[in-house]
């Protein structure tokens, strides 16, 4: 029973929001390889949403494009989520390993990513008055992914409903702290770098004169 290949697991999980992740856990399905692919797909989906959509929906002028926010919104946010969730749930008797949190969370993002690509396609044939189709697809993807993510966390840690809600709220707080520390760290390292760089130029100057 339920001997599925990896692609079949993806389909099973996405189309069975309430049982899928329990099955995945029971059968030890899912692979990190897919996580990487999904996060890359998310990164390109976010870029596509801003850059490749029809011009009538384009929110951002060409001159203001920078790739950093997109890396931030895909890779960094995902890693912060996984790290934060793992940190919180280890303390809250969660059963999930870091690897499983990675896999389950990323599988949950699939509907959102797909809806984004569908929307990118739709913006090429819709005009602004018909935006309702566009937002419908967007909200379907968002709610679907939200539901999956909730059940993913619930299944991976074997939590009850209330405990999952609490864990997710705490995870969001943990994410904020992680990102705050990351920014602090970055700026600190920048200061250190500048210090050593000025030291280097100073020495160079002395050597020359």
């Amino acid at each position: 029973m339920m001997d599925l290949t990896q692609p079949q697991w993806v389909k099973h999980v996405v189309f069975h929001p309430f049982e899928g992740f329990e099955d995945l856990r029971w059968k030890k399905g899912g692979t990190l390889k897919y996580t990487v692919i999904i996060i890359i797909a998310l990164f390109f989906a976010l870029i596509a949403y801003d850059r490749w959509c029809g011009f009538q929906f384009r929110p951002l002028p060409d001159a203001m494009f920078s790739v950093v926010p997109y890396i931030m919104r895909s890779v960094v946010y995902f890693l912060a989520w996984v790290l934060g969730n793992w940190a919180i749930c280890t303390l809250l008797d969660g059963e999930g390993t870091m690897k499983n949190i990675c896999i389950y969370s990323s599988y949950a993002l699939i509907p959102y990513i797909v809806s984004t690509y569908v929307n990118v396609f739709l913006t090429h044939i819709l005009v602004r008055d018909e935006q309702v189709f566009f937002s419908t697809v967007y909200y379907i993807g968002l709610i679907w992914s939200g539901l999956l993510l909730f059940n993913a966390i619930k299944a991976v840690h074997q939590y009850t409903f209330t405990k999952t809600v609490a864990a997710i709220i705490l995870t969001l707080i943990a994410m904020l702290i992680i990102l705050f520390l990351a920014v602090l760290f970055l700026s600190l390292f920048q200061k250190v770098y500048v210090f050593f760089y000025s030291l280097y130029t100073e020495i160079l100057y002395r050597v020359r004169v």
Binding site: G54, F55, Q56, R58, P61, I125, V127, R128, D129
Partner: protein, 512 residues
């Protein structure tokens, strides 16, 4: 060793200097005639190099016109016959100069009162000539009066401090600027009230105030409003009141009858320029986020230099010319408040002005062919002439704003040939092609202008046209697809049933 190093240093410095000198030449290929770099703002609000719409032709002093040098001149006005009236405040006189600005037609330094006595001006600040009544209106500042007189210099009416209860009797009456609208009402800008311009009827009776600025809704003002709402009458009397800044100059759009006001106060961003209808309502109030003049204040040595619009002029084609005293620049907008050109600077050359001392701007011609800027510091009037490029832009703008999109197409294309950065040309071309039914081209130009709303409009038409054209093909493809899927499903179901039947047969056979 040391000598070599020194020589290398010198060489590097020399190379650096020559590079530095080359940079402006490379970056800003503008006209060599200008003592400043010509720029315009793109839709992101960045200053980009641009073609000059106006070039400074010459500057005229009082001596050039064969009279005494101007002494702190404060106003310049052009009447309907293209005669210029220059208020030479320091010399207490008003000069009438011909339309070419080459000779003086007349000098008003004394006037005949109705009772036959002579009267002179004392530091006059403003002048206006009404095309309807033909009278001169003079803001005679230090005499605390405004004079209405004929062109022969006979005073018809003298307006002094009103004795109305509406007018606070403790206030002085020092007219700064004056104008007379198409109905004969007289408006006087005073420097000591924030209630707006004092308004008088044609007989000189005080009516009230007109067109006050609104109070900027800053956090302090909102907080004040809240505290006032819960404060008692006693407390309220001691609370600070929110008063708006006063506008200090205005101009009449003779063709349409609107009065445009300008505010030079550096402490506010609201109502810098207003377009006021006869009822006193500001028609530009919807543009509350619009920045007139330079988009960013500059900071230098801890001081902020902010645009100070000291005078405003409405050209014959409806263009709004704002004079910024801080930078000595004239910002020319079309009647929809789209920026056309920026000209002027601070400095000593022709086309540049002494900082903070420019006092008046005036335009001449149906297409604003000339712009005149009065510099009270230098005591000169500088005349800007329109370039070919400026003329084409004005022509295209007038057509475009009048709704003649298709007629404006050729001028806009010509504008693009001369300045590919000129965004309004792309918008104009996009609109023209839209009206001509060339939706694909309209989309292309809307895209180049980064105007996605316009693109949306053209795309909608393009899509429906495309659908109409390809409807047969689309229907055929859809029909084939539906039939194909239906056939495939039926085929698959039959196959499955067959397989199931064989399986049960086999099972059945085994059981038996």
């Amino acid at each position: 060793m040391k000598k070599q190093a020194k020589r290398r240093l010198i060489r590097t410095a020399a190379a650096g200097l020559s590079l530095l000198a080359a940079i402006p030449a490379l970056a800003l290929p503008t006209s060599a005639d200008e003592p400043y770099d010509v720029y315009n703002y793109n839709y992101l609000g960045e200053a980009v190099p641009s073609q000059a719409g106006y070039l400074a032709e010459r500057s005229v002093s009082g001596l050039d016109l064969g009279t005494d040098a101007f002494s702190t001149p404060s106003d310049l006005f052009k009447d309907e016959n293209d005669l210029f009236y220059l208020v030479d405040s320091g010399n207490n006189r008003i000069l009438v100069i011909d339309s070419e600005f080459t000779k003086i037609e007349k000098i008003y330094d004394s006037f005949k009162m109705p009772d036959g006595s002579e009267t002179t001006l004392k530091n006059p600040k403003g002048v206006f000539v009404s095309p309807d009544t033909g009278y001169l209106y003079i803001a005679d500042n230090e005499n605390s009066r405004a004079l209405v007189c004929t062109k022969e210099g006979e005073v018809v009416m003298e307006i002094t401090k009103p004795e109305s209860t509406v007018y606070d009797q403790q206030l002085t009456f020092l007219p700064q600027k004056i104008l007379c609208d198409n109905a004969g009402n007289i408006y006087i800008v005073l420097n000591n009230t924030t209630k707006g311009a004092a308004m008088f009827d044609a007989n000189g009776e005080f009516i009230g105030y007109y067109g006050a600025n609104a109070v900027a809704a800053t956090a302090t003002v909102i907080a004040n409003h809240f505290w006032n709402a819960i404060a008692s009458e006693e407390e309220k009397r001691y609370r600070a009141r929110s008063t708006p800044t006063a506008f200090d100059n205005f101009d009449l759009d003779t063709a349409k009858g609107f009065i445009y006001t300008s505010t030079s106060s550096g402490s506010t961003d609201t109502d810098i320029v207003k377009k006021v209808n006869p009822e006193g309502y500001n028609l530009f109030s919807y543009m509350s986020n619009f920045t007139w003049g330079d988009l960013f204040s500059t900071w230098y040595s801890g001081t902020s230099y902010k645009t100070k619009i000291v005078d405003i002029d409405i050209g014959s084609d409806g263009s709004i010319n704002c004079l910024d005293a801080t930078t000595g620049r004239v910002f020319q907008y079309d009647k929809e408040a789209d920026l056309l050109f920026i000209m002027g600077a601070t400095g000593d050359q022709v086309g540049a002005f002494t900082a903070g001392n420019v006092t008046a701007v005036e335009t001449k011609g149906d297409g604003c062919e000339n712009v005149y800027v009065l510099d009270s510091g230098k005591g000169t009037v500088t005349i800007f002439g329109q370039t070919v490029f400026g003329g084409i832009v004005h022509h295209a703008t007038t057509l475009y704003n009048g709704g003649y999109y298709e007629e404006a197409l050729d001028p806009w294309l010509e504008v693009l040939k001369r300045d590919g950065n000129y965004r309004r040309a792309y918008l104009g071309i996009s609109s023209a092609y839209y009206n001509m039914g060339r939706y694909k081209d309209s989309m292309e130009y809307a895209k180049k202008a980064d105007a996605s709303a316009r693109y949306n409009r053209a795309f909608e038409r393009y899509r429906s046209e495309w659908l109409r054209e390809h409807l047969t093909v689309i229907l055929i493809i859809a029909a084939v697809l539906i039939a194909g899927i239906w056939g495939l499903r039926k085929f698959l179901r039959k196959k499955r049933e067959k397989a199931l039947a064989t399986a049960t047969n086999q099972k059945g056979g085994a059981a038996v």
